[in-house]
Symmetry: none
Subunit: 224 residues, 2 copies
DNA sequence: GGACGGCGTCAAGAACCCGTCAAGGACGGC
DNA sequence: GCCGTCCTTGACGGGTTCTTGACGCCGTCC
Protein backbone atom coordinates (compact mmCIF):
# COMPACT_ATOMS: atom_id res chain seq x y z
CA UNK A 1 0.00 0.00 0.00
CA UNK A 2 1.05 3.60 0.44
CA UNK A 3 4.42 4.59 1.79
CA UNK A 4 4.35 7.16 4.62
CA UNK A 5 7.39 9.06 5.85
CA UNK A 6 7.09 10.39 9.41
CA UNK A 7 9.52 13.13 10.45
CA UNK A 8 9.12 13.82 14.15
CA UNK A 9 11.38 14.04 17.18
CA UNK A 10 8.87 13.07 19.83
CA UNK A 11 9.39 9.30 20.39
CA UNK A 12 6.02 8.49 22.02
CA UNK A 13 4.14 10.29 19.27
CA UNK A 14 6.19 8.58 16.58
CA UNK A 15 5.49 5.20 18.16
CA UNK A 16 1.77 5.91 18.22
CA UNK A 17 1.83 7.08 14.61
CA UNK A 18 3.78 4.10 13.39
CA UNK A 19 1.53 1.63 15.16
CA UNK A 20 -1.66 3.22 13.90
CA UNK A 21 -0.44 3.69 10.36
CA UNK A 22 0.83 0.13 10.11
CA UNK A 23 -2.44 -1.12 11.54
CA UNK A 24 -4.14 0.55 8.61
CA UNK A 25 -1.91 -1.09 6.07
CA UNK A 26 0.54 1.70 5.39
CA UNK A 27 4.25 1.21 5.03
CA UNK A 28 5.96 3.57 7.47
CA UNK A 29 9.45 4.98 7.79
CA UNK A 30 10.37 7.43 10.53
CA UNK A 31 13.12 9.98 11.09
CA UNK A 32 13.84 11.99 14.23
CA UNK A 33 15.51 14.91 12.50
CA UNK A 34 14.88 17.05 9.47
CA UNK A 35 18.12 16.01 7.87
CA UNK A 36 17.34 12.35 8.45
CA UNK A 37 13.90 12.79 6.97
CA UNK A 38 15.24 14.41 3.85
CA UNK A 39 17.76 11.61 3.50
CA UNK A 40 15.08 8.93 3.77
CA UNK A 41 12.91 10.75 1.27
CA UNK A 42 15.78 10.95 -1.17
CA UNK A 43 16.51 7.24 -0.83
CA UNK A 44 13.02 6.27 -1.81
CA UNK A 45 10.33 8.86 -2.54
CA UNK A 46 7.37 8.34 -0.18
CA UNK A 47 3.72 8.73 -1.18
CA UNK A 48 3.05 11.20 1.63
CA UNK A 49 5.08 12.97 4.33
CA UNK A 50 3.93 13.66 7.91
CA UNK A 51 6.17 16.43 9.21
CA UNK A 52 6.35 17.77 12.73
CA UNK A 53 7.55 21.32 13.07
CA UNK A 54 9.85 22.00 15.99
CA UNK A 55 12.56 19.62 14.93
CA UNK A 56 15.93 19.90 16.70
CA UNK A 57 18.03 20.60 13.64
CA UNK A 58 16.05 22.31 10.92
CA UNK A 59 13.19 24.74 10.76
CA UNK A 60 9.95 23.30 9.40
CA UNK A 61 9.88 25.51 6.34
CA UNK A 62 13.41 24.43 5.53
CA UNK A 63 12.37 20.79 5.46
CA UNK A 64 9.41 21.66 3.30
CA UNK A 65 11.61 23.61 0.94
CA UNK A 66 14.05 20.72 0.84
CA UNK A 67 11.30 18.40 -0.30
CA UNK A 68 9.56 20.81 -2.65
CA UNK A 69 12.79 21.29 -4.50
CA UNK A 70 12.32 18.01 -6.26
CA UNK A 71 8.95 16.43 -5.44
CA UNK A 72 5.25 17.26 -5.23
CA UNK A 73 4.59 14.62 -2.62
CA UNK A 74 1.79 15.72 -0.26
CA UNK A 75 3.12 17.12 3.02
CA UNK A 76 1.01 17.04 6.16
CA UNK A 77 2.36 19.26 8.91
CA UNK A 78 1.87 18.58 12.62
CA UNK A 79 2.45 21.27 15.16
CA UNK A 80 1.67 22.23 18.71
CA UNK A 81 1.79 25.87 17.76
CA UNK A 82 -1.58 27.42 17.36
CA UNK A 83 -0.26 30.67 16.01
CA UNK A 84 -1.59 31.34 12.60
CA UNK A 85 1.64 32.88 11.44
CA UNK A 86 3.27 29.47 11.69
CA UNK A 87 0.45 27.89 9.76
CA UNK A 88 0.60 30.47 7.01
CA UNK A 89 4.35 30.11 6.73
CA UNK A 90 4.20 26.32 6.50
CA UNK A 91 1.35 26.29 4.01
CA UNK A 92 2.92 28.93 1.82
CA UNK A 93 6.22 27.09 1.93
CA UNK A 94 4.45 24.26 0.18
CA UNK A 95 2.75 22.15 2.85
CA UNK A 96 -0.59 20.65 1.92
CA UNK A 97 -2.26 20.48 5.29
CA UNK A 98 -1.69 21.61 8.85
CA UNK A 99 -2.91 19.73 11.93
CA UNK A 100 -2.65 21.19 15.41
CA UNK A 101 -1.68 18.93 18.29
CA UNK A 102 -3.31 17.33 20.07
CA UNK A 103 -5.25 15.71 17.26
CA UNK A 104 -7.43 12.64 16.96
CA UNK A 105 -5.82 9.73 15.17
CA UNK A 106 -8.92 9.15 13.05
CA UNK A 107 -8.79 12.76 11.91
CA UNK A 108 -5.16 12.43 10.98
CA UNK A 109 -5.89 9.26 9.05
CA UNK A 110 -8.74 10.97 7.22
CA UNK A 111 -6.51 13.89 6.27
CA UNK A 112 -3.90 11.41 5.14
CA UNK A 113 -6.43 9.67 2.92
CA UNK A 114 -7.47 13.02 1.46
CA UNK A 115 -3.84 13.91 0.72
CA UNK A 116 -3.16 10.54 -0.88
CA UNK A 117 -6.35 10.70 -2.91
CA UNK A 118 -5.18 13.94 -4.45
CA UNK A 119 -1.69 12.69 -5.12
CA UNK A 120 -2.60 9.57 -7.01
CA UNK A 121 -5.61 10.45 -9.07
CA UNK A 122 -4.76 8.89 -12.37
CA UNK A 123 -5.89 5.45 -13.39
CA UNK A 124 -3.24 4.33 -15.82
CA UNK A 125 -4.53 3.06 -19.10
CA UNK A 126 -2.07 0.91 -20.96
CA UNK A 127 -1.71 0.57 -24.67
CA UNK A 128 -2.34 -2.81 -26.20
CA UNK A 129 0.15 -3.79 -28.86
CA UNK A 130 -0.11 -6.59 -31.39
CA UNK A 131 2.10 -7.52 -34.30
CA UNK A 132 -0.22 -5.79 -36.70
CA UNK A 133 -1.66 -2.77 -34.90
CA UNK A 134 -1.56 -0.75 -31.67
CA UNK A 135 -4.48 0.33 -29.50
CA UNK A 136 -3.73 3.36 -27.33
CA UNK A 137 -6.50 3.34 -24.76
CA UNK A 138 -5.44 6.57 -23.06
CA UNK A 139 -5.22 8.56 -26.26
CA UNK A 140 -8.19 6.87 -27.86
CA UNK A 141 -6.29 6.07 -31.03
CA UNK A 142 -5.41 3.07 -33.13
CA UNK A 143 -2.50 2.83 -35.50
CA UNK A 144 -1.51 0.14 -37.94
CA UNK A 145 1.69 0.18 -39.92
CA UNK A 146 2.73 3.52 -38.46
CA UNK A 147 -0.34 5.49 -39.52
CA UNK A 148 -3.53 6.22 -37.67
CA UNK A 149 -6.62 4.21 -38.47
CA UNK A 150 -9.89 6.09 -38.61
CA UNK A 151 -12.55 4.40 -36.51
CA UNK A 152 -16.15 5.43 -36.10
CA UNK A 153 -17.42 5.93 -32.53
CA UNK A 154 -19.10 2.53 -32.37
CA UNK A 155 -16.12 0.77 -33.84
CA UNK A 156 -13.91 2.39 -31.23
CA UNK A 157 -16.12 1.50 -28.29
CA UNK A 158 -16.29 -2.10 -29.42
CA UNK A 159 -12.55 -2.32 -29.87
CA UNK A 160 -12.01 -0.61 -26.53
CA UNK A 161 -14.08 -3.16 -24.63
CA UNK A 162 -12.26 -6.02 -26.32
CA UNK A 163 -8.84 -4.46 -25.77
CA UNK A 164 -9.48 -3.83 -22.09
CA UNK A 165 -10.30 -7.52 -21.76
CA UNK A 166 -7.68 -8.84 -24.13
CA UNK A 167 -6.94 -12.50 -23.69
CA UNK A 168 -10.41 -13.18 -22.31
CA UNK A 169 -13.59 -14.15 -24.06
CA UNK A 170 -16.10 -11.32 -23.91
CA UNK A 171 -19.72 -12.35 -23.97
CA UNK A 172 -22.14 -11.23 -26.66
CA UNK A 173 -24.31 -9.78 -23.95
CA UNK A 174 -21.43 -7.95 -22.31
CA UNK A 175 -20.34 -6.38 -25.58
CA UNK A 176 -23.83 -5.30 -26.56
CA UNK A 177 -24.39 -3.93 -23.07
CA UNK A 178 -21.20 -1.90 -22.99
CA UNK A 179 -21.34 -0.58 -26.52
CA UNK A 180 -25.01 -0.19 -27.34
CA UNK A 181 -26.75 -0.26 -23.97
CA UNK A 182 -29.18 -2.54 -22.18
CA UNK A 183 -31.91 -2.31 -24.84
CA UNK A 184 -29.77 -4.08 -27.43
CA UNK A 185 -28.75 -7.25 -25.64
CA UNK A 186 -30.21 -9.49 -28.33
CA UNK A 187 -28.97 -7.70 -31.44
CA UNK A 188 -26.04 -10.00 -32.06
CA UNK A 189 -26.08 -9.08 -35.72
CA UNK A 190 -24.73 -5.66 -34.73
CA UNK A 191 -21.68 -7.45 -33.45
CA UNK A 192 -21.26 -9.33 -36.70
CA UNK A 193 -21.45 -6.14 -38.75
CA UNK A 194 -19.01 -4.15 -36.65
CA UNK A 195 -16.58 -6.96 -36.04
CA UNK A 196 -16.39 -7.25 -39.80
CA UNK A 197 -15.51 -3.58 -40.27
CA UNK A 198 -12.96 -3.74 -37.46
CA UNK A 199 -11.30 -6.71 -39.09
CA UNK A 200 -11.31 -5.00 -42.45
CA UNK A 201 -9.60 -1.98 -40.95
CA UNK A 202 -7.14 -3.73 -38.66
CA UNK A 203 -6.45 -7.29 -39.72
CA UNK A 204 -3.95 -7.96 -42.52
CA UNK A 205 -6.19 -10.78 -43.73
CA UNK A 206 -9.74 -9.98 -42.59
CA UNK A 207 -11.01 -13.40 -43.63
CA UNK A 208 -8.56 -15.10 -41.29
CA UNK A 209 -8.28 -12.83 -38.27
CA UNK A 210 -5.29 -13.25 -35.98
CA UNK A 211 -6.35 -10.92 -33.18
CA UNK A 212 -10.08 -10.29 -33.32
CA UNK A 213 -11.22 -13.86 -32.86
CA UNK A 214 -14.67 -15.40 -32.85
CA UNK A 215 -15.59 -17.74 -30.04
CA UNK A 216 -18.57 -19.47 -31.64
CA UNK A 217 -21.69 -19.36 -29.54
CA UNK A 218 -20.01 -17.36 -26.80
CA UNK A 219 -18.54 -14.10 -27.93
CA UNK A 220 -15.29 -12.56 -29.17
CA UNK A 221 -11.75 -12.46 -27.92
CA UNK A 222 -8.92 -9.99 -28.49
CA UNK A 223 -5.69 -11.93 -28.76
CA UNK A 224 -2.28 -10.26 -28.90
CA UNK B 1 -7.51 35.57 -10.89
CA UNK B 2 -8.95 32.54 -9.21
CA UNK B 3 -12.65 32.00 -8.92
CA UNK B 4 -13.85 31.12 -5.41
CA UNK B 5 -17.30 29.77 -4.63
CA UNK B 6 -18.46 30.32 -1.04
CA UNK B 7 -21.36 28.20 0.21
CA UNK B 8 -22.41 29.41 3.62
CA UNK B 9 -25.64 30.46 5.31
CA UNK B 10 -24.17 32.82 7.87
CA UNK B 11 -24.49 36.30 6.32
CA UNK B 12 -21.90 38.13 8.47
CA UNK B 13 -19.33 35.44 7.82
CA UNK B 14 -20.09 35.44 4.10
CA UNK B 15 -19.67 39.20 4.03
CA UNK B 16 -16.33 38.94 5.77
CA UNK B 17 -15.18 36.21 3.43
CA UNK B 18 -16.25 38.04 0.32
CA UNK B 19 -14.57 41.27 1.38
CA UNK B 20 -11.32 39.58 2.31
CA UNK B 21 -11.19 37.36 -0.74
CA UNK B 22 -11.93 40.21 -3.11
CA UNK B 23 -9.30 42.32 -1.38
CA UNK B 24 -6.80 39.62 -2.28
CA UNK B 25 -7.77 39.61 -5.91
CA UNK B 26 -10.10 36.63 -6.01
CA UNK B 27 -13.34 36.55 -7.89
CA UNK B 28 -16.04 35.47 -5.45
CA UNK B 29 -19.50 34.06 -5.79
CA UNK B 30 -21.59 33.14 -2.78
CA UNK B 31 -24.60 30.92 -2.12
CA UNK B 32 -26.60 30.58 1.07
CA UNK B 33 -27.83 27.05 0.45
CA UNK B 34 -26.31 23.79 -0.74
CA UNK B 35 -28.63 23.63 -3.72
CA UNK B 36 -27.78 27.20 -4.67
CA UNK B 37 -24.10 26.45 -4.38
CA UNK B 38 -24.36 23.41 -6.61
CA UNK B 39 -26.30 25.47 -9.13
CA UNK B 40 -23.64 28.20 -9.19
CA UNK B 41 -20.91 25.61 -9.56
CA UNK B 42 -22.76 24.06 -12.45
CA UNK B 43 -23.17 27.38 -14.20
CA UNK B 44 -19.48 28.04 -14.15
CA UNK B 45 -16.97 25.68 -12.56
CA UNK B 46 -15.05 27.52 -9.80
CA UNK B 47 -11.36 27.05 -9.07
CA UNK B 48 -11.96 26.30 -5.38
CA UNK B 49 -15.00 25.86 -3.14
CA UNK B 50 -15.33 27.06 0.46
CA UNK B 51 -18.13 25.05 2.01
CA UNK B 52 -19.74 25.55 5.38
CA UNK B 53 -21.31 22.47 6.90
CA UNK B 54 -24.59 23.02 8.68
CA UNK B 55 -26.45 24.38 5.71
CA UNK B 56 -30.22 24.67 5.99
CA UNK B 57 -31.11 22.41 3.09
CA UNK B 58 -28.45 19.79 2.44
CA UNK B 59 -26.01 17.83 4.50
CA UNK B 60 -22.39 18.78 3.97
CA UNK B 61 -21.41 15.40 2.58
CA UNK B 62 -24.27 15.65 0.11
CA UNK B 63 -22.92 18.90 -1.27
CA UNK B 64 -19.46 17.37 -1.51
CA UNK B 65 -20.86 14.34 -3.30
CA UNK B 66 -22.77 16.61 -5.66
CA UNK B 67 -19.57 18.35 -6.63
CA UNK B 68 -17.37 15.28 -6.71
CA UNK B 69 -19.73 13.68 -9.17
CA UNK B 70 -18.27 15.75 -11.95
CA UNK B 71 -15.30 17.80 -10.81
CA UNK B 72 -12.05 17.53 -8.88
CA UNK B 73 -12.14 21.15 -7.76
CA UNK B 74 -10.54 21.59 -4.31
CA UNK B 75 -13.12 21.79 -1.50
CA UNK B 76 -12.29 23.56 1.73
CA UNK B 77 -14.76 22.79 4.51
CA UNK B 78 -15.61 25.19 7.31
CA UNK B 79 -17.35 23.99 10.41
CA UNK B 80 -18.03 24.94 14.00
CA UNK B 81 -18.16 21.30 14.95
CA UNK B 82 -15.04 20.06 16.58
CA UNK B 83 -16.08 16.44 16.54
CA UNK B 84 -13.65 14.36 14.64
CA UNK B 85 -16.38 12.15 13.22
CA UNK B 86 -17.63 15.12 11.21
CA UNK B 87 -14.16 15.84 9.96
CA UNK B 88 -13.56 12.27 8.93
CA UNK B 89 -16.90 12.08 7.13
CA UNK B 90 -16.29 15.29 5.22
CA UNK B 91 -12.73 14.43 4.27
CA UNK B 92 -13.66 10.93 3.17
CA UNK B 93 -16.56 12.27 1.18
CA UNK B 94 -13.99 14.09 -0.91
CA UNK B 95 -13.19 17.35 0.86
CA UNK B 96 -9.60 18.53 0.66
CA UNK B 97 -9.28 20.45 3.89
CA UNK B 98 -11.21 21.11 7.05
CA UNK B 99 -11.04 24.31 9.07
CA UNK B 100 -12.70 24.66 12.45
CA UNK B 101 -14.42 27.91 13.33
CA UNK B 102 -13.42 30.33 14.57
CA UNK B 103 -10.43 30.63 12.30
CA UNK B 104 -8.05 33.39 11.37
CA UNK B 105 -8.59 34.94 7.98
CA UNK B 106 -4.90 34.71 7.16
CA UNK B 107 -4.94 31.00 7.91
CA UNK B 108 -7.92 30.48 5.66
CA UNK B 109 -6.24 32.41 2.90
CA UNK B 110 -3.11 30.32 3.30
CA UNK B 111 -5.10 27.10 3.11
CA UNK B 112 -6.86 28.48 0.07
CA UNK B 113 -3.54 29.18 -1.59
CA UNK B 114 -2.37 25.67 -0.76
CA UNK B 115 -5.53 24.18 -2.24
CA UNK B 116 -5.25 26.27 -5.39
CA UNK B 117 -1.58 25.44 -5.74
CA UNK B 118 -2.43 21.74 -5.74
CA UNK B 119 -5.37 22.16 -8.05
CA UNK B 120 -3.36 23.84 -10.73
CA UNK B 121 -0.27 21.67 -10.34
CA UNK B 122 0.13 20.62 -13.91
CA UNK B 123 3.11 18.30 -13.98
CA UNK B 124 3.69 18.38 -17.70
CA UNK B 125 5.02 20.89 -20.13
CA UNK B 126 3.80 24.40 -19.46
CA UNK B 127 3.86 25.30 -23.14
CA UNK B 128 2.63 23.32 -26.10
CA UNK B 129 4.29 24.14 -29.39
CA UNK B 130 3.11 23.30 -32.88
CA UNK B 131 4.43 24.29 -36.27
CA UNK B 132 1.85 27.02 -36.56
CA UNK B 133 1.25 28.37 -33.07
CA UNK B 134 2.35 28.18 -29.44
CA UNK B 135 0.16 27.72 -26.38
CA UNK B 136 1.73 28.96 -23.15
CA UNK B 137 -0.34 27.25 -20.48
CA UNK B 138 1.49 28.87 -17.59
CA UNK B 139 1.15 32.39 -18.91
CA UNK B 140 -2.26 31.84 -20.44
CA UNK B 141 -1.24 33.13 -23.84
CA UNK B 142 -1.24 31.98 -27.42
CA UNK B 143 0.96 33.26 -30.17
CA UNK B 144 1.02 32.54 -33.86
CA UNK B 145 3.66 33.82 -36.24
CA UNK B 146 5.43 35.72 -33.46
CA UNK B 147 2.48 37.82 -32.38
CA UNK B 148 -0.08 37.22 -29.66
CA UNK B 149 -3.50 35.95 -30.58
CA UNK B 150 -6.48 37.40 -28.76
CA UNK B 151 -8.75 34.69 -27.37
CA UNK B 152 -11.98 35.17 -25.48
CA UNK B 153 -12.23 33.48 -22.05
CA UNK B 154 -14.27 30.57 -23.39
CA UNK B 155 -12.01 30.07 -26.36
CA UNK B 156 -9.04 29.95 -24.03
CA UNK B 157 -10.59 27.45 -21.67
CA UNK B 158 -11.46 25.17 -24.54
CA UNK B 159 -8.00 25.40 -26.02
CA UNK B 160 -6.47 24.85 -22.59
CA UNK B 161 -8.32 21.59 -22.00
CA UNK B 162 -7.34 20.35 -25.43
CA UNK B 163 -3.72 21.42 -25.05
CA UNK B 164 -3.36 19.79 -21.66
CA UNK B 165 -4.52 16.56 -23.26
CA UNK B 166 -2.74 16.98 -26.55
CA UNK B 167 -2.40 13.77 -28.49
CA UNK B 168 -5.50 12.35 -26.87
CA UNK B 169 -9.08 12.33 -27.94
CA UNK B 170 -11.09 14.48 -25.55
CA UNK B 171 -14.73 13.54 -25.25
CA UNK B 172 -17.55 15.92 -26.07
CA UNK B 173 -18.81 15.44 -22.56
CA UNK B 174 -15.45 16.06 -20.95
CA UNK B 175 -14.95 19.28 -22.89
CA UNK B 176 -18.41 20.60 -22.11
CA UNK B 177 -17.97 19.61 -18.48
CA UNK B 178 -14.62 21.32 -18.06
CA UNK B 179 -15.41 24.46 -20.02
CA UNK B 180 -19.10 25.09 -19.42
CA UNK B 181 -20.04 22.86 -16.48
CA UNK B 182 -22.29 19.86 -15.99
CA UNK B 183 -25.47 21.65 -17.02
CA UNK B 184 -24.21 21.83 -20.60
CA UNK B 185 -23.24 18.25 -21.26
CA UNK B 186 -25.52 17.98 -24.28
CA UNK B 187 -24.80 21.31 -25.94
CA UNK B 188 -22.44 19.92 -28.53
CA UNK B 189 -23.22 22.84 -30.80
CA UNK B 190 -21.24 25.05 -28.43
CA UNK B 191 -18.23 22.96 -29.29
CA UNK B 192 -18.86 23.33 -32.98
CA UNK B 193 -19.11 27.10 -32.74
CA UNK B 194 -16.04 27.59 -30.58
CA UNK B 195 -13.88 25.07 -32.38
CA UNK B 196 -14.64 27.01 -35.52
CA UNK B 197 -13.47 30.29 -34.03
CA UNK B 198 -10.35 28.66 -32.60
CA UNK B 199 -9.52 27.26 -35.99
CA UNK B 200 -10.12 30.59 -37.65
CA UNK B 201 -7.73 32.24 -35.22
CA UNK B 202 -5.04 29.58 -35.09
CA UNK B 203 -5.06 27.33 -38.13
CA UNK B 204 -3.39 28.50 -41.34
CA UNK B 205 -6.18 26.82 -43.29
CA UNK B 206 -9.23 26.66 -41.01
CA UNK B 207 -11.12 24.43 -43.42
CA UNK B 208 -8.40 21.79 -43.21
CA UNK B 209 -7.13 21.92 -39.64
CA UNK B 210 -3.78 20.35 -38.89
CA UNK B 211 -3.85 20.60 -35.10
CA UNK B 212 -7.40 21.04 -33.86
CA UNK B 213 -8.81 17.83 -35.24
CA UNK B 214 -12.31 16.41 -35.18
CA UNK B 215 -12.82 12.84 -34.06
CA UNK B 216 -16.28 12.30 -35.52
CA UNK B 217 -18.82 11.17 -33.00
CA UNK B 218 -16.33 11.18 -30.16
CA UNK B 219 -14.72 14.53 -29.60
CA UNK B 220 -11.71 16.59 -30.56
CA UNK B 221 -8.00 16.10 -30.45
CA UNK B 222 -5.10 18.56 -30.25
CA UNK B 223 -2.32 17.24 -32.41
CA UNK B 224 1.14 18.79 -32.51
C1' DG C 1 -27.86 -36.61 -45.69
C1' DG C 2 -30.70 -32.85 -44.38
C1' DA C 3 -32.27 -29.29 -41.20
C1' DC C 4 -30.79 -25.74 -38.33
C1' DG C 5 -28.43 -22.16 -35.92
C1' DG C 6 -24.51 -19.20 -35.77
C1' DC C 7 -21.60 -16.39 -38.47
C1' DG C 8 -19.72 -13.22 -42.26
C1' DT C 9 -20.95 -10.17 -46.04
C1' DC C 10 -23.28 -6.70 -48.55
C1' DA C 11 -26.16 -2.77 -49.73
C1' DA C 12 -29.59 0.95 -49.09
C1' DG C 13 -32.18 4.24 -46.54
C1' DA C 14 -32.63 6.72 -42.37
C1' DA C 15 -30.60 9.09 -38.73
C1' DC C 16 -27.14 11.61 -36.97
C1' DC C 17 -23.06 14.65 -36.75
C1' DC C 18 -20.38 18.46 -38.19
C1' DG C 19 -19.09 23.04 -40.07
C1' DT C 20 -20.96 27.39 -41.07
C1' DC C 21 -23.47 31.58 -40.71
C1' DA C 22 -26.08 35.11 -38.62
C1' DA C 23 -29.22 37.23 -35.45
C1' DG C 24 -30.42 38.19 -30.71
C1' DG C 25 -29.21 39.13 -26.05
C1' DA C 26 -26.35 39.63 -21.88
C1' DC C 27 -22.69 41.97 -19.91
C1' DG C 28 -19.28 45.37 -18.80
C1' DG C 29 -16.68 49.74 -19.93
C1' DC C 30 -16.86 54.41 -21.07
C1' DG D 1 -27.19 55.66 -21.65
C1' DC D 2 -24.43 54.06 -25.44
C1' DC D 3 -21.26 50.95 -27.52
C1' DG D 4 -18.49 46.96 -28.22
C1' DT D 5 -17.42 42.32 -27.01
C1' DC D 6 -18.76 37.92 -26.16
C1' DC D 7 -21.95 34.17 -25.59
C1' DT D 8 -26.10 31.85 -26.88
C1' DT D 9 -29.27 29.96 -30.10
C1' DG D 10 -31.40 28.39 -34.33
C1' DA D 11 -31.20 26.86 -39.06
C1' DC D 12 -29.18 24.65 -43.08
C1' DG D 13 -26.46 21.61 -46.29
C1' DG D 14 -23.24 18.04 -46.95
C1' DG D 15 -21.17 14.15 -45.46
C1' DT D 16 -20.67 10.21 -42.53
C1' DT D 17 -22.40 6.59 -39.69
C1' DC D 18 -25.81 3.47 -37.97
C1' DT D 19 -29.48 0.46 -38.64
C1' DT D 20 -31.84 -3.09 -40.94
C1' DG D 21 -32.87 -6.91 -43.86
C1' DA D 22 -31.41 -10.38 -47.05
C1' DC D 23 -28.28 -13.91 -48.55
C1' DG D 24 -24.83 -17.61 -48.45
C1' DC D 25 -21.44 -20.37 -45.97
C1' DC D 26 -20.11 -23.58 -42.51
C1' DG D 27 -20.37 -26.66 -38.72
C1' DT D 28 -23.28 -29.45 -35.74
C1' DC D 29 -26.93 -32.29 -34.52
C1' DC D 30 -30.60 -35.18 -35.53
Amino acid sequence: MSDVLVIDDDPPLVRALVINLKAHGYTVRAAGTGAGGLRLAAERPPDVVVLDLGLPDLDGTEVIAGLRGWTDVPILVLSAREHSREKVAALDAGADDYVVKPFGMDELLARLRAALRRGSAQPDEPTVVTDDFTVDLAAGRVSAGGTDVRLTPTEWRLLEVLARNHGRVVDHRRLLLDVWGPAYQDQTNYLRVFMATLRRKLEPDPAHPRHLLTEPGRGYRFEI
